[in-house]
Symmetry: C2
Subunit: 338 residues, 2 copies
Amino acid sequence: MPSPLDPFRTRLESLPSSDSLSVDKATARDSVLTKPTGALGRLEELAIWMSGWQGKHPPSCDRPQIIVFAGNHGVCAQGVSAFPQEVTVQMVANFEAGGAAINQLATLFGASFSIHPLNLDNPTEDFTKTSAMSEIECAEALQFGWDAVSGDADILITGEMGIGNTTSAAALATALFGGSGIDWAGPGTGVPASGVQKKAAAIDCALTRHAEILSDPLKVLQHLGGREIAAVAGAIIAARHKNIPVLLDGFVVCAAAAVLFKFNPHALDHCVAAHVSAEPGHKKMLQHLGKEALLSLGMRLGEGSGAALALGIVKGAIAAHNGMASFADAGVSGETGE
Amino acid sequence: MPSPLDPFRTRLESLPSSDSLSVDKATARDSVLTKPTGALGRLEELAIWMSGWQGKHPPSCDRPQIIVFAGNHGVCAQGVSAFPQEVTVQMVANFEAGGAAINQLATLFGASFSIHPLNLDNPTEDFTKTSAMSEIECAEALQFGWDAVSGDADILITGEMGIGNTTSAAALATALFGGSGIDWAGPGTGVPASGVQKKAAAIDCALTRHAEILSDPLKVLQHLGGREIAAVAGAIIAARHKNIPVLLDGFVVCAAAAVLFKFNPHALDHCVAAHVSAEPGHKKMLQHLGKEALLSLGMRLGEGSGAALALGIVKGAIAAHNGMASFADAGVSGETGE
């Protein structure tokens, strides 16, 4: 029987690869720049990686796009957040007015920024009781994320806002990677231990209720995710098809990404983990995804803020790669082989 | 008997403190910004710390100054580097022409940049044979670094270039923190294991020769350091006296900083460790200095490159602190205390 999710299955099965010619060009240039071999560490890898996924050399990081999706969550009825649910819409107004952390970082690094509230007046269903979204709702949110990605961007950051969404993300992680709720639930915005227990209980309840769909990652997204999480997933797939590398933000964004990874283990090859957050499950999730974070600064805000901060690192990598002189150009002697 | 190093002893004994009023103002503002308490992790600490050491609120990161000092080292006679010594002067020309990694990072982050070759035609003495510098030479290099710091800067990065200077830095670390040469010698620009052994042997030889001065950090600098290392130390002290916070770069810069730390354990309170480099001794040195690095990206280039890259982090911290809306301004509800 055809499903509205099918187009995304197709998109996840037919993934473009990194461009090996651009990788070769970037690797060759890296090897002649005025520095000892490998002395710029991960900056060198980043420049080569950017070149491959952009399919061009030299690579660029001049047109970063930051997209934040916002959603509301029926599971908030289970008392899983330190903040009331109306904060989601209030924060959307703050994003629109330019007052949030992500606005300042977007301006600092010259990134375009947009905020997309997704039907905030109608939260997803409480996934302890039923599926969070219908197939059509989930597909619409995926498509919304897909459509939000500009073909003109040279790097993408997706962020999210949604009171209750670390519980949804932890539920996704539990469903996709195993364990029980307490293995993945964390303090989120700052709930005390009793709140973490409530999150874990809600997750365990949901996994029992939805046991029959746990082997299908897109169904897991539909049953346990949120609209903003599905939109993040859709945007990440879109970036792949549009030759745009992605900086992954924190726990919630990586839960969305994990859905794609479980569907196709190569689905995140165009993504770098920008940071590891203070949310305890994030480190573990990155291990499952096989990603080593660029930054570890104890951040746990979401909004794409950790990924936006890593723009400075990627811009530095590209600036060094594109702007440095070669040994020959600069008349600098090479290694003696001593 | 008066020594040309005495003025620096005085400067290290009378260190200005962080401004508590500015710290209080920054802490108060941080607590009302539209984010859960602590959700920006180290960015919040950085903004408050910058405010305190700049002695103003709001803090700024608009006028970063990057100063690179270059020196040549007599200990190169011991075969301690993978590159010939003429590379120091060649790289100075590369810095002047804008072709080095640090030039690209300075441009990217809007930092002023200057390169200062220090008597490259006359390397320091081979410290396995005699003291690297006379007291006057060392004092002149310290003063050179002091004078190079602009009172107009709002954050300082010192970098260094000097074939052979990781051996000098490892010798300083061994003298200041104990152990033997092999505990602190590393591959530097990329010497093989046999080169590391030569470095360790040179250090052990030097420590035996100079055993009588090892308890005096400034004498250690004079006997085992280099001109660029002394200049870095002088610049770091100058920054303290001029209300300028400092981003510490890698192994060589931290060896210069360690001299100050051993003289006065509060001498580096105005410094943040920007990164931990791939040079194995650097991590250990940061532990001795009680510093946790902002970045860990496998870099090992020197030139101030790791610290320059961290400018993006500090700029992000300041942008968020200064630009975000408060809960009251944005009409966002606070935590429920759940």
